[in-house]
Symmetry: C2
Subunit: 228 residues, 2 copies
């Protein structure tokens, strides 16, 4: 079976897991803590980041772009592309995917993941320790405008880029699900965004994310609740 | 004709111009200074970044992922893909493209471009002013290991990901060409990397980059020289 080296709370790995799940591609998940910089893992991906995929034919796809590309290139025949059906749709899907994988990640999910999770696990000399609360507060303040954007995008259609679910939804939901695990999404602030997240959270492929557990860090009360 | 909003020294725009040129897709280049945050441009791309492409059919592709995807999706029929011919090649091309667009950009081309170019043009209250020389020095020190990596990758084949030129070469050359304009690439340090850059610099599509000019900032002496 195709192997995926992943870290449960890594948003990029989550995006890949959703994408593969919707294409009915099974993945054998192997947990990797990228900050440990294991020598064998650095052989697979010299930048030391998850996700990394190894196919049955021993193709190594290292990093989000390579893994996402592999999943898309190997989608089941006849299955509609998760990137969109024509130039206009594909441009919008790719724009929004980059919005969440770059802008949202930089402003919200990366700082929260680093401050609240990773700094617990790395030694002090590598930057470990208590979270920097100024960084945490700034990231939390930035969640709201992103929820408003999701709300505006889903005003007239079910999914972020249009009537069909796409990698833009998987990227957005992946990043939000990480901070939802930490209990940091103010869902009551935007009904439309909450309704969109309820739709994607109810899909069978999402269940794998809802059962993720990080040792010593229980998920927020509503994390696995479909009626939050 | 397809329009491309670009900034001449933006590495992502340069990657797109090389890619489109190699596919013989003509682009009508429109210069945009993204730090000016023009209202009409923000309508096209809410994150305010170049490149943005507008097709003859009025498809707006905003951001590198959307534009690169559009160029690839619309390549001339029968033309070999610049992403590679099979899963193994495509995984390597995508890994290396991300290496230069993410790691090299973060460590080298973004800090040098910001400190040496953009800070000249923005007002002091928006971060303009003299370059921060500590940042510049650190970025310059990091060029060398990247040249070594290029040298190692081209030890046994002509192009970064194998025997065929790919978007990985366009990405790497685009980022390096920006700092070469500034005169900051120590080419004599790695003969293999220099030979690879000579190969790509000699291609007809590269000429458009070599004639780029930034007002008040002449290119380095060797920038347009094919025998540097």
């Amino acid at each position: 079976m195709t192997k995926l080296y992943h870290y449960p709370l890594d948003p990029f790995c989550r995006r890949i897991r959703l994408s593969a799940g919707e294409y009915k591609q099974e993945l054998d998940l192997i947990e990797e803590k990228p900050w440990q910089a294991r020598a064998e893992f650095l052989q697979l991906n010299p930048v030391g980041a998850v996700p990394v995929l190894i196919s049955d034919e021993d193709v190594v796809a290292a990093g989000t772009e390579a893994v996402a590309g592999f999943i898309e290139d190997n989608r089941p025949e006849g299955c509609p592309s998760q990137v969109g059906a024509n130039d206009k749709e594909r441009a919008e899907v790719r724009r929004l995917t980059a919005w969440f994988d770059t802008k949202f990640h930089h402003e919200v999910s990366a700082p929260l993941l680093i401050e609240k999770v990773i700094r617990r696990f790395v030694p002090p000399e590598a930057g470990g320790g208590a979270p920097n609360m100024a960084v945490v507060r700034q990231a939390l303040d930035t969640v709201r405008p992103h929820l408003e954007y999701i709300g505006a995008l889903t005003e007239d259609h079910n999914w972020l880029a249009g009537d069909e679910i796409s990698i833009a939804d998987f990227a957005a939901a992946a990043h939000l699900s990480v901070i939802d695990y930490l209990g940091d999404v103010p869902w009551s602030e935007n009904e439309k965004a909450k309704a969109w997240y309820q739709r994607i959270k109810s899909r069978p492929t999402f269940r794998t994310l809802l059962s993720d557990k990080v040792t010593g860090m229980p998920a927020s009360r509503i994390y696995a609740d479909l009626d939050f």
